[in-house]
Symmetry: C2
Subunit: 155 residues, 2 copies
DNA sequence: TGACGATGGTTCGCGATACCAACTAATGTC
DNA sequence: GACATTAGTTGGTATCGCGAACCATCGTCA
């Protein structure tokens, strides 16, 4: 394959981002599959590691319509990984909390995803990693100011 | 928002990648929505800009099961954006080719996605952009050698 | 207190995704 | 010419994500 070297050299900034995105997506899918769960469900679990979150807040964090989230939570709840905890103050609201098993799975998945990505980056000089991270942080910050809130893996 | 600065500073390498991935995904979804089409279909179209591609090759490029691809192509074909061209040499095979309208849409979408991402990165110094691009290229190359072929936006 | 708009979630119906297993048809090989 | 291989499709299932309509509860304002 002449591709590896030549094509990537030719790679534009945008194309690089798109490919990278797919790579990450792929890692996420692999890890999820290992744990016999869907990527979306994994993402939801990871989002709850920091503590219970309400539906509305969750839908904002995950960029999902509330109705979509209801279904997602339903399926994950059916698997016994999360529970809807009704809020005492506001009887309409409910917090989504991890069950013990859910927490275990969440932490494992998070660890695995992080691990694989770090491994992938292991060959890169630390300086490059830091550089990349901070540049990305810049991108995210800029976009965050325009659209909404960030919030993804672990918090 | 204290978040913007503090959180992103705390961001680890892996988390940064995950968030970035979602950001790109989001851009892709937005552009697709503007063109009244789904992200997956947009991706398919973009993949064909370089010329017709067979189903098997496509499924490899898109990391999709052949059966999944059949459905995707069906829907896009139903919209008149692509056509199945039977291969003369191998009467089993068929090449997926863009129709005129499909080509128009593909180019537009590709332009828009690239445009938005570049815009997003516009604030970054050129040096950072190049750096980021080459670092990503490194990641992709490394992963490519392990898993399969890259191939995403525009070829 | 009591009507009323806003808010938190769910339900319903729909089209799209993606997988797996099984299947058809054409290739290639020995 | 039988047989394993390869290219794609079909069928069935679970999931995803959206929008519109809807219920229950809150908060407010009179």
């Amino acid at each position: 394959m002449t591709t590896t070297t030549e094509a990537t050299t030719e790679l534009g900034f945008a194309a690089a981002l798109v490919r990278l995105s797919h790579l990450v997506q792929h890692v996420f899918a692999d890890v999820s599959r290992d744990h016999d769960i869907t990527p979306q469900q994994t993402q939801l679990l990871c989002m709850l590691i920091g503590g219970p979150v309400g539906m509305t807040e969750l839908s904002r964090l995950m960029h999902l319509e509330k109705s979509s989230l209801t279904g997602l939570v339903d399926r994950v709840e059916r698997r016994g990984l999360v529970a809807r905890v009704r809020d005492a103050r506001d009887r309409r609201a409910c917090q989504i909390a991890l069950t013990d098993e859910g927490a275990r799975l969440a932490v494992e998945s998070h660890r695995d995803v992080t691990g694989r990505l770090d491994t992938l980056a292991g060959e890169l000089p630390d300086a490059d990693q830091e550089r990349l991270t901070s540049v990305i942080a810049g991108l995210l910050a800029q976009h965050g100011t325009l659209t909404g809130r960030p919030g993804d893996l672990a918090r």
